[in-house]
């Protein structure tokens, strides 16, 4: 099987240094476990960060040189059409660009491939050219989908942790550089400005005074009833 992992221009959240996105490192881990050949693909001008992928299990990396502001979809589409990969892996959101997570969908549309989101596990299907994808759902549930290849799969943060980084492997990996046609990104009529952190809603227990919910030395049976009632009234669990 031939797989390609899409690599974006991620930045470290603390230092702003170019790094490999963790999600994409997890995608490499999933792809490595599947076997076959696995290569990386990056469109852009950021080599420092993505070359880390070679230390996380990739043997080779293709880089389509594009200016940072260019729209990479058409360049990636052309390259991937020529590659004829069975499986294209990506993080659920690429980083560094608009961070909208649209690129895999745009690629799938352009390549005419089915797309499955939020994979946490990949296993080869029983029939040839099929893949079983476990998608993460809320509360630990999984949706097991069998898909006919070729397909595009994006990876969820709950996928297994990436393979640890190996400096020696990064040094030995191959980087192939390609010249690509740059397409202008559609200019957005939106205003860009420096990021400002905004408060999130706080998740504290509902303000029903803790004094009235403090029970000192109740009978164990009474305590048990209180606990179950609290859980049910707050919609955590329903028993019986």
């Amino acid at each position: 099987m031939k797989s390609v992992v899409l690599l974006s221009d991620a930045r470290h959240p603390v230092s702003g240094r170019a790094v490999l996105s963790r999600l994409e490192a997890q995608a490499i881990g999933l792809g490595t476990a599947l076997g076959g050949t696995l290569t990386g693909l990056h469109a852009g001008d950021c080599e420092d960060g993505v070359q880390e992928s070679l230390g996380h299990g990739l043997s080779a990396l293709d880089i389509l040189s594009l200016p940072p502001e260019a729209d990479p979809v058409s360049a990636l589409t052309d390259f991937l059409k020529a590659q004829k990969a069975d499986l294209i892996l990506a993080g659920r959101r690429g980083e560094g660009g608009f961070d909208s997570g649209l690129l895999p969908y745009a690629l799938a549309e352009a390549l005419g491939l089915p797309i499955l989101a939020d994979a946490v596990a990949l296993t080869p299907g029983e029939a040839t050219d099929t893949l079983v994808v476990d998608q993460a759902l809320a509360k630990g549930a999984r949706r097991r989908v069998t898909v006919r290849l070729p397909a595009l799969v994006t990876v969820h943060p709950l996928a297994p942790a990436p393979l640890p980084f190996a400096f020696g492997a990064m040094r030995r990996g191959t980087i192939r550089r390609h010249v690509a046609e740059a397409a202008d990104a559609s200019t957005d009529p939106v205003e860009e400005r420096p990021y400002r952190a905004r408060p999130k809603l706080m998740r504290t227990s509902s303000a029903t005074a803790s004094a009235e919910n403090l029970h000192v030395g109740p009978e164990p049976e009474e305590a048990a009833r209180l606990i179950l009632d609290y859980l049910e009234s707050n919609g955590i669990r329903r028993y019986g």
Binding site: G140, P194, R237
Partner: protein
């Protein structure tokens, strides 16, 4: 659409409160009146501060993240207002009916397990905000896959059921048809799971941009992070948006009617998808970071067989304090706290855990905390929403007994 004129004198008179002996006139300016049906109510900064006071002993702390309405369902502002006004507004919630909506706002509701999640309510709340924007009169249409309770209370005026056969592309196609038919002004999704997936499928299919992961939502402006949170984009609310978690408050006003809105669509099939199977999560085996409910044991627990049985019966994921893990009574992977797992669960049930600072760091994001501990002054008791000062070893068998009774 014309706005009704306001008669300031009439509304003043209606706001007059019966006052005491010296005949001084007093008004309750916060009460809405028939003569002044619209327009923002006046702000009362004192009440807002009072409402955002986190009800907890010790140092006063305020949660000013979501002004002016307080957190968590029941509005404290509302409560404060009811308390202060002599002529209380009727506490009975009257269903708000929008017969002829001026426009529609779609809210995509995922509702895992058939129950509205906190995030779903936030999406509905955000949609409500957009529907009430400007002159108001918009209707929130909840897009659901199955029947769900509580949509009205969460702010939905209409409910549109789009059947799902498990195929994401089919669902997106159905929603696309609905959008083309009803032309909603906005379609709001959660930036999570199937909703996020559907939003992107739609964006590509419609060729319309998606304003994803909105962190700041108002009627006039939406803001989202860009370039790995080094920049942000601001725009007037576009049509397709996904909302970040904990970024919009839930609807707290009068419930909507949640009237069904019929929409027929021909089911389509995705040729590439060969089979779909849902595997429910098993709380006992879930990773601590993924579960929504943790039952956790500390020093006050000695019977670990019983504890594991209890966790299984409660359908919670077993966790433990560091001491317990150090002693080898529970595996290291079960350790909750700064040096173990930091939880994102909704509820944390602490049995015999006093609450060391590192442990409390691990449960900082838990909304509901239940503590059972012998020490009244334990930090965990202070942190808990339900605190029971009792020996955990006594409460555990009682809980097991009660759970077995209820389940049989």
């Amino acid at each position: 659409m014309t706005r009704p004129r306001i008669d300031p004198r009439a509304s003043r008179t209606e706001q007059r409160v019966a006052s005491g002996e010296n005949g001084r006139r007093r008004y309750d300016l916060s009460s809405r009146t028939a003569s002044n049906p619209i327009g923002p109510p006046r702000r009362d900064p004192r009440q807002e501060w009072a409402a955002s006071l986190i009800d907890r002993p010790g140092r006063r702390r305020y949660d000013r993240s979501q002004r002016p309405v307080a957190r968590g369902g029941a509005s404290n502002v509302e409560a404060a207002r009811v308390g202060s006004a002599a002529e209380a507004v009727s506490t009975e919630p009257t269903v708000r009916i929008i017969e002829e909506p001026a426009f529609l706002v779609f809210a995509f509701v995922d509702a895992p397990g058939g129950r509205l999640s906190r995030f779903d309510r936030q999406v509905l709340g955000g949609a409500r905000l957009l529907a009430d924007a400007g002159g108001g009169g918009g209707a929130v249409v909840a897009i659901v896959a199955e029947e769900i309770d509580g949509l009205g209370a969460a702010g939905a005026d209409r409910v549109m059921s789009l059947p799902t056969n498990g195929s994401a592309s089919a669902r997106a196609a159905a929603l696309r048809a609905a959008i083309e038919t009803h032309a909603p002004r906005h379609v709001l999704f959660a930036e999570d799971g199937d909703a996020a997936d559907c939003a992107r499928r739609l964006s590509v299919a419609l060729g319309e941009p998606l304003f994803s992961n909105v962190e700041h939502l108002t009627a006039r402006q939406v803001v989202r992070p860009n370039r790995g949170r080094r920049a942000e984009l601001a725009a007037a609310p576009p049509r397709l948006m996904t909302l970040g978690e904990d970024r919009a408050k839930m609807h707290a006003g009068a419930p909507g009617e949640a009237r069904p809105l019929e929409f027929e669509t021909a089911p389509s099939d995705d040729q590439a998808i060969l089979s779909v199977e849902i595997i429910p999560g098993d709380p006992a085996r879930l990773a601590l970071s993924e579960t929504d409910f943790v039952v956790s044991a500390g020093n006050g627990v000695t019977d670990f067989e019983g504890f594991r049985e209890l966790a299984a019966l409660m359908k919670g994921t077993p966790g433990a304090s560091r001491v317990v893990c150090d002693a080898g009574l529970m595996p290291r992977g079960a350790q909750v706290g700064a040096s173990g797992t930091v939880l994102a669960a909704d509820c944390y049930f602490a049995l015999g855990i006093s609450g060391a600072p590192q442990h409390l760091q691990g449960i900082a994001a838990c909304e509901q905390v239940i503590a059972v501990n012998t020490d009244l002054h334990a930090a965990m008791i202070e942190r808990a929403g339900l605190a029971i000062v009792q020996d955990a070893q006594l409460v555990m068998p009682a809980l097991i007994k009660l759970l077995k009774e209820r389940q049989s």
